[in-house]
Symmetry: C2
């Protein structure tokens, strides 16, 4: 676990998805005084465990994570996959104890935002308080949309929606929307979507047969972005232009 003491939000590639997004450069300067360290985790290492005392939030600067809640009977549910610029730990602000754990899916690095100092600073800087409210709120909103998926959509729809969601998040961060490497296992995908590995495996196969995607292990190439989006039923937000619908399937 490597520690670097200096953090410069102003230089960070993903600051526009992160806390600094709506802040002035002056405010960012103050925030940089609060962000204490950058930590590197390797695949499988956990950022915090269930039951850990809540000390502050983590901002992902590279890599990806899964957040997992565990039921009293032992079974677990991945509640979200997180990418650079996104914040981990919001669910623990209340209660002061983490009720989920966060695990790195690949080599990843995070910035640590101590709660006490963050609270103090957000008391002084309205824009920061606002941005914290915004991020909290966005988390609730995306959670609601996910609930809709889990409650109403078929296995096929859910997998399509996940692929489109990941694609769009990579795209927003400047990577290809149509070719990427999944950082999570089939098991993780199945757990997240409330399905079994077998079902996920069969669906991936079917998507290939139908010419929607090309798959080699965890490498995904989306062939028919429009077709997949229609299955997903979500209007994804891509940075660049949305491909025209002329080649869309029925």
């Amino acid at each position: 676990m490597t520690v670097t003491s200096y953090v410069r939000c102003s230089n960070c590639a993903v600051s526009k998805f992160c806390l600094p997004h709506t802040l002035s450069s002056e405010d960012i300067g103050q925030l940089e005084g609060v962000v204490q360290q950058k930590r590197v985790l390797h695949a499988g290492e956990t950022l915090y465990h269930t039951g850990d005392h809540f000390e502050g939030l983590f901002a992902i600067s590279s890599g990806s994570f899964k957040s997992v809640v565990i039921a009293t009977n032992g079974d677990s549910q991945i509640t979200e996959f997180s990418f650079p610029g996104e914040i981990l730990g919001f669910d623990a602000y209340h209660g002061k104890t983490h009720n989920s754990f966060a695990e790195a899916l690949e080599t990843s690095s995070v910035c640590f935002l101590p709660q006490a100092q963050l609270d103090l600073l957000s008391q002084k800087v309205p824009a920061l308080q606002q941005q914290l409210y915004n991020l909290f709120s966005a988390e609730i909103q995306s959670n609601n949309e996910f609930l809709l998926m889990m409650g109403k959509r078929s296995a096929e729809d859910r997998l399509a929606a996940l692929l489109i969601n990941i694609s769009s998040r990579y795209s927003q961060r400047g990577y290809s929307a149509t070719h990427f490497r999944l950082s999570m296992s089939r098991t993780d995908i199945a757990n997240y979507l409330g399905l079994t590995i077998e079902t996920v495996s069969r669906l991936i196969r079917r998507f290939q047969k139908e010419g929607l995607i090309e798959v080699s292990q965890r490498d995904i190439t989306i062939i028919d972005l429009v077709g997949l989006s229609e299955l997903a039923g979500t209007h994804c937000t891509y940075e660049e232009h949305v491909p025209d619908a002329s080649s869309g399937t029925a």
Copy 2:
């Protein structure tokens, strides 16, 4: 729609579930200056619609609500049922537009908390800022637990968990934990749990046959609280003592 201009949080029966909970009486005094009006809605009336501009939060002072998100293909998902003391509108803080709608399930009243004034006050009063963070966070946490249910538990478990959840919330508010009247229809319950009406109806019947509950229309009497809790798999939080397990089913 009736409007009363004076709101006294200090006298409110549900303040301990609401924003004032952790505030000093002095801070509550300031909060009362922000809470502008009390509105009464009848069953079926909506507090806000999808797409409405976000103006502020609503605190439920009596009655109950459902929050509903709508997919682009038209189908909808109830994301939560809300009771007195709970806050509505958190999901819209980000984006400034409601992406869900809230509908009264029975005659209900709400207090309105204008965002602009709430932001200003929370900037001055640390305890209020903290409490807002807490409520945001609690919302995310309960959302995560609900996701676990939707992803991993059977129809039977989900219905049991809902009944236990409602029972415990009534109990916390000083009502009977074992006898209450559901304010939501079977259709609402089914939608919330990601099931069909028929399944819910059959399960209710089965619970009756098994001696877990007694049902007459929307009147519920829980006969075997322990047995139902075991099905639900959740450790519910009751105000008073938890009934001893000696009469529990296997």
